[in-house]
Subunit: 486 residues, 2 copies
């Protein structure tokens, strides 16, 4: 049975939570008094559906069911997780918790998306304060891994651990904030930058576009992969962190910022920022900007996955948790499923079609999976041998769009001695998209030339090859480019 | 004749400048009294050589010549650009300018890497203040595009424009800072974050690793592609920037930061940060961290290039400037060069070898170039027709490493009616790496099925096909996978 999440408040943040829970296989029950809530949440969900499933290198669980409820009491029925994302007013939030606790499971987690309040403030006059915790996410919630988990002294450790486990299962990174402070950790840093940026614009030093360029062409690129301290550790060079602080520390005393002071949000300043922002980004709708942002984030996150670094390492671990152990099937009378995944945004062109080279990318990963299944795993490769692809023949038969789930099934045409001859079929919903025929040679990674596989690997490969010998020769196998007929 | 840059001070920043100038084809003359300067600069240059050339999708100019000089006077001889990156002490910098101006070309640009001083402070008692300007880069200088160009009222507009043009030609983005303020723009923002982060660590709220995680799993990913204001514009949702400020503006008045106060850099705080940083990153050498950072930055930047967004748009424009106009060669008696580029880091595996799918990626781009050369350009495609690849046959013959320059030469095997049959050869220094044979079909983008090309395109393709018909049939052409001999 699917788990149930209740989403209290379905704006940009609540909608993002709803999308993440749904796409990770939870049923979601939404309460939001806004008559336009279903449409707004649908927009967020559309964005999430096109970007999140393909972020994974494995197929996500089947999407859960989404329902809207007129009463808060009804929405929390059966919910193991209740996420509150109502406006940042303490009295409102406290009133919401009162209603929630009258109707919800006492064992459920009630998590607040607050970016500012401390959990002990939220728990204030609650019936069961121990049930309420802060889980502060970042927009877009369905793509960014960070979520700040802030408990108070009243939250029992097992509730904190349970909350962290649920968030991890959603593909997020729960950053356990050990001390209650206003605005937690990330928003303190953001608030500092925001104030300084307002001064720069207010004083006419820079426009909103210039501030953004100063970030995205410079330190923003550094911070997507290393944070502040690791970056400065490198800046210190061989002498390291201590040298960096000693060299740059004195600047702290210089009058470099106006941080001591808060800019007044006058009508003039608000107009100035709004006008400059319109000039900078106004030619593009918010919807188009959201999609550009998501395309960029997926591209960056998947780049970091390929590097297995930072947020990419988190995502790889999440894929492994979803997929579980991998083994050769007992029944070898059919081609073997070697890939099932959604087409990610970074595999597609501006039209949303999967690009030519990504077919080989997918077939290459299917080949890697086949190697793993017959025993050519990380340990085997570390011991000094592997398979190299000598030849590839791809037939492109049909197009496929971002977000569609593709399946690759692999037939071993031959597997004896140093050679492994594979035939992959890529399809979506039974529609054949492409075939890939590959000749692989077993090599010694030391000499970089052909070598005999280990007896165990050879025996496994031969067992699959013999079972597959009973299958018909696939259409197109053995043909050259432009050669037709059979 | 190559242009000459003088690098005064060859540390991390000066070395980064030297590397960027050299790899963009300038001769570089270095002055640095540190006896270890050549080794240190060599380390930076090694990093730059493995990461920068492949960032481009076209071949960079031949590397310039690097020389070291014992006298500052000698280093500036013939230099059109003099980059000063000596320690941040005003008296020292002023003394350096005095010596420089005694010996350098009065028409040369003297640019300071200072992150803090205003140009008018630097110009203070100089002989020719108009020649001195701020060009503040970001580490790693050879990869990050941002450079803050800060003139004073004494700099003539043509000097400012010349400086910006040179920096643009180096692949950088000159952000013209129109008002002189301490620390320019980016470092004011960085300073704000740095102060707040020091407080978080000082007060035991977060460790250095937790601060970094709060950045790189969250807003750091946003800032690599959009800055602060564009991100918040989206956060405002359909109501936009004004709504965002009105909703979140009041928080500015809350006591969310300790910005009013400067943390004292006591020995205890320095020890705490250094120890935490060692625990976070100490298992990896600075050299390994630098390479991981560069691998990540290249991956992110190339992802943004594919998206043609932000820093990627800058890099694409730089490639087009380097390459100049593209046209079919007059002499069609040889295969046509359709690609020349360095193998980028994101095309390689952990061993530095180009991965399987990137061969097709490269062949696909060579095919795109061939299409462009025969007239299937952006306008032709926008008008509703293009070529789709129906079939591909790749033979992998040898391995190639990151940073090596690969060449693809293309032979048209047939080109008549709806079909274009291409044969690509990929080589490095005359060593054949792979061949790619491709059958392409001319299609209507509306019906997505085969269609006749325009008469002009058909005639051009036929002209090339007829000229290439005289060439011998390439070895391996027309063969199926596993089929040998001729």
């Amino acid at each position: 049975m699917r788990q149930v999440a209740a989403i209290i408040g379905g704006g940009v943040i609540g909608g993002g939570w709803a999308a993440r829970f749904l796409l990770m296989g939870w049923d979601v029950r939404v309460f939001d008094p806004d008559p336009d809530a279903a449409r707004k949440l649908g927009d967020v969900l559309d964005n999430a559906r096109r970007s999140l499933p393909g972020l994974s290198d494995v197929a996500l669980p089947a999407e859960g069911q989404l329902t809207f409820h007129d009463a808060m009491s009804e929405s929390v029925s059966g919910a193991a997780w209740i996420q509150e994302s109502v406006p940042e007013r303490l009295t409102l939030k406290r009133k919401v918790y009162q209603t929630l606790q009258e109707h919800c499971d006492p064992a459920a987690v009630i998590a607040s998306s607050t970016s500012g309040f401390k959990p002990s403030q939220l728990q204030g006059c609650a019936t069961r304060p121990a049930q309420i915790i802060v889980a502060h996410p970042f927009n877009p919630v369905y793509l960014l891994p960070l979520v700040e988990v802030v408990p108070s002294a009243l939250n029992p450790p097992d509730l904190v651990e349970k909350a962290k486990a649920v968030l991890t299962s959603l593909g997020m990174y729960p950053l356990h904030v050990r001390a209650e402070i206003d605005a937690h950790i990330a928003d303190r840093l953001l608030e500092a930058v925001w104030r300084e940026a307002l001064w720069l614009v207010n004083d006419g030093v820079a426009t909103t576009a210039e501030v953004d360029d100063a970030i995205r062409y410079g330190f923003g690129l550094r911070w997507a992969q290393m944070g502040l301290f690791e970056t400065y550790r490198i800046a210190g060079g061989e002498a390291g962190m201590r040298h960096f602080i000693e060299q740059f520390g004195p600047c702290l005393e210089w009058p470099w910022t106006k941080l001591m002071d808060v800019p007044k949000l006058t009508d003039e300043l608000i107009d100035k920022i709004t006008d400059q922002s319109d000039q900078q980004s106004g030619a593009v709708s918010i919807r188009a900007l959201e999609r550009a942002r998501d395309d960029n984030l997926v591209t960056i996150l998947r780049g970091l996955k390929a590097r297995d670094w930072g947020a990419g390492t988190l995502l790889n671990a999440h894929d492994r948790r979803i997929e579980g152990p991998v083994a050769l099937p007992d029944d070898l009378s059919h081609p073997i499923a070697t890939m099932q995944r959604a087409v990610p945004l970074d595999w597609t062109d501006y039209n949303g079609h999967m690009t030519e080279a990504r077919y080989l990318h997918a077939f290459g990963e299917a080949t890697d999976r086949m190697m793993l299944l017959i025993g050519c795993d990380a340990a085997y490769i570390a011991a000094g041998a592997s398979f190299f692809t000598a030849e590839t023949h791809i037939r492109h038969l049909d197009e496929v769009h971002a977000g569609r789930v593709i399946l690759i099934e692999t037939q071993v045409l031959a597997g004896a001695g140093k050679k492994m001859h594979l035939f992959h079929r890529m399809s979506t919903d039974g529609r054949l998209l492409a075939t890939g025929e590959h000749m692989l040679i077993h090599v010694s990674l030391e000499t970089r030339s052909a070598s005999e596989p280990s007896p165990v690997l050879a025996a496994t490969l031969e067992r699959v090859a013999q079972a597959h010998a009973a299958l018909p020769l696939p259409e197109g196998a053995g043909k050259g480019v432009g050669v037709r007929g059979d």
